[in-house]
């Protein structure tokens, strides 16, 4: 019985963690080319959760089907934000300006959501919301399992894109060394815009899957941004593959923490782990060499 309970806790951790993971992959990509942590990521995740909520309640579109609308929209929105807001700041050596722009954007999106959707929590309710599988007595809700698959699928797509396409290679090269990449004839704005588009695109994926699992409200975006940031730090800032693993690890830490110590403290534990990692292993738990930031 107790063994089954431990397995249940671990399974919950992995299922929670993948959503953090894909949000962190987005952060990691943007960090790679722009050298900033895009703090507004969490606000966008919740924003897309609301979009999926609207698509369901106003138009009756199933949340998983709404991904077909949300992903292209979020990709476009991402590049539009880059060209509209971050383009000039990206060229400036002082990264604090870009960081503060992200803070401003986060504040803006969060408060727009407060006005449009009010601070009351909303949830996406579908016929399969309460559907649960019980393999070997372990409880696996259908929506969480689907979220896991979608997250893995999205991450694999991004990895293939980065490895196999010319644009993806350019993005990876820019994360290694922006100056040399520019000298090779690659337009830095273009690479940044691609990274931004994928980052916001992943926020769209994370938002829709989140909407099917939890009730959400506008203030949750900031919490989620910090969770993604912790996942990123665990995986090693700038390490795209580590980010996904970091998310899963964070999920495990949270679920073990709330199991052994109690619900409210889980957050404090994950922040504590975050601080310890930042101080003692800034290259992340999986990274080899220290990457200068």
């Amino acid at each position: 019985m107790s063994f089954r309970l431990i397995v249940q806790v671990l399974v919950n951790g992995v299922l929670f963690g993948t959503t953090y993971g894909i949000a962190a992959v987005g952060l990691s990509l943007i960090f790679g080319t722009m050298r900033i942590i895009f703090l507004a990521q969490g606000a966008f995740i919740i924003f897309f959760a609301y979009i999926s909520y609207w698509l369901l309640t106003l138009l009756g579109i199933d949340p998983y089907l709404s991904l077909l609308i949300v992903i292209p929209v979020s990709l476009l929105l991402g590049s539009a934000f880059y060209y509209g807001i971050f383009k000039e700041a990206a060229a400036i050596e002082d990264k604090n300006i870009s960081l503060l722009l992200a803070v401003g954007l986060m504040y803006l999106v969060e408060n727009i959501m407060l006005v449009v959707w009010s601070p009351d929590p909303r949830s996406v309710v579908t016929p399969y919301t309460t559907l649960v599988f019980r393999p070997w007595g372990i409880v696996v809700p259908f929506t969480r399992l689907t979220a896991l698959f979608i997250a893995i699928l999205a991450a694999v797509c991004v990895f293939i894109f980065l490895k196999r396409t010319l644009i993806g290679t350019a993005v990876r090269a820019a994360s290694e060394d922006m100056v040399s990449t520019t000298l090779m004839g690659i337009n830095p704005n273009w690479v940044n815009a691609v990274a931004f588009a994928i980052g916001i695109g992943l926020a769209g994926v994370a938002g829709v899957t989140l909407a099917t699992i939890y009730p959400f409200d506008p203030s949750y975006g900031f919490v989620f941004a910090i969770k993604a940031l912790i996942a990123l730090a665990l995986g090693g800032i700038g390490n795209v593959y580590g980010a996904l693993l970091g998310g899963i690890m964070l999920g495990l830490i949270e679920s073990l923490g709330s199991f052994y110590i109690g619900g409210g403290w889980a957050d404090a534990i994950s922040y504590g782990v975050f601080l310890l990692v930042l101080v003692f292993r800034p290259q992340g738990l999986f990274g080899g060499s220290i990457k200068k930031a």
């Binding site: 504040y107 803006l108 003692f280």
Partner: protein, 325 residues
């Protein structure tokens, strides 16, 4: 002798001093001409003074030493809670209402936290790593204050006896004094060797270190001094609120407001945060009256527009105009 004084007065470098003294003088006599107890204007100025203090706290660490702190709300809340706890537990055995001992202690507690977290965070990390570390600390403080129910009262918080309230007068003058103190602290720190070291660190940390600047010491100093100012502002605000809970004093707004005000007015300048605080408080107060829900949206748009079009703030605008003209 008189020649010397005249020379001193004519020196353009001292223009900030005159503006400050003139400002303090004007603000000091305003209550003589207004109905202090019911005037919204007095409340507005009080709020502006609090904002000036926290803005200068952030200005010191971010504007001069170049370290973006995202944990200022923790210092503000800690200052407010310290005041309430000392009062409720009768710790210092002094009068508690506007007691300078309590207020200074409320500034020192955040300093202790700043030093404890500042040494590991500032020695290992650079740039945005420090920002996220402080962000994490802010969140931990919120969780701890919510969870340590038997000390902090959890989500409901603490109530300090509001029966002592008599007049808005002490709030106004303490606020004015603190704002003046904050400006003076930033002025004297930045005009000294310490300030020179801070600016060297902001420009190029490596180069500063190789020229013999002990960077950790100055970064922690800036962070701690900023925490002190923020904590004292929290203490003053606690006297005004009488009901201290995480929602009111650990709110993320206490992190965003100082950033917003500094950025808008001009970070790394003496007068920038003051102008920013005046402008933003006016905007918020105006917004609260006429379009209550919208003003956070406007401030978000403002941060983006200011960072995009005038990264040096309102103060920077002056240089821009003069260099073109």
């Amino acid at each position: 002798m008189i020649d010397r004084i005249l020379l001193y007065i004519k020196d353009k470098r001292h223009v900030n001093i005159y503006i400050t003294f003139l400002g303090v003088l004007i603000f000091a006599i305003i209550p003589l001409f207004t109905d202090v107890e019911s005037s919204y204007f007095i409340y507005f100025l009080f709020l502006t003074f609090v904002h000036i203090v926290i803005a200068q706290g952030w200005n010191l660490v971010a504007g001069y030493a170049g370290q973006i702190s995202l944990g200022q709300n923790a210092f503000f809340g800690l200052g407010a809670y310290t005041t309430a706890l000392i009062w409720l537990h009768d710790i210092t055995k002094t009068g508690y209402y506007f007691d300078p001992v309590v207020m200074i202690l409320s500034g020192l507690v955040p300093v202790v936290l700043a030093i404890i977290i500042g040494i590991p965070l500032l020695s290992r990390l650079r740039g945005d790593y420090f920002a996220f570390g402080t962000l994490g600390v802010g969140q931990i403080i919120i969780v701890v204050f919510l969870k340590a129910r038997h000390i902090t009262g959890g989500a409901d918080g603490l109530h300090i006896p509001s029966t002592v309230y008599e007049s808005m007068m002490p709030y106004y003058y303490t606020g004015l004094l603190l704002a003046f103190f904050a400006i003076a602290v930033v002025y004297f720190i930045t005009r000294s060797r310490i300030g020179l070291a801070m600016r060297a660190i902001k420009e190029d940390e490596m180069s500063a270190a190789s020229h013999g600047v002990y960077i950790l010491k100055y970064k922690v100093l800036a962070f701690a001094a900023g925490a002190f100012l923020t904590g004292i502002a929290g203490s003053l605000y606690a006297y005004y609120l009488f009901h201290i809970n995480p929602d009111s004093v650990l709110n993320m707004n206490w992190l965003f407001y100082p950033i917003l005000m500094c950025v808008l007015g001009g970070t790394g300048t003496i007068m920038g945060p003051v102008i920013g605080a005046l402008f933003m408080t006016a905007l918020f107060s105006f917004g609260d009256v006429y379009f209550a829900q919208m003003h956070p949206i406007i401030s978000g748009v403002l941060i983006i527009l200011v960072m995009k079009f005038m990264p040096n703030g309102i103060i920077g605008l002056k240089d821009k105009i003069f260099s073109r003209g």
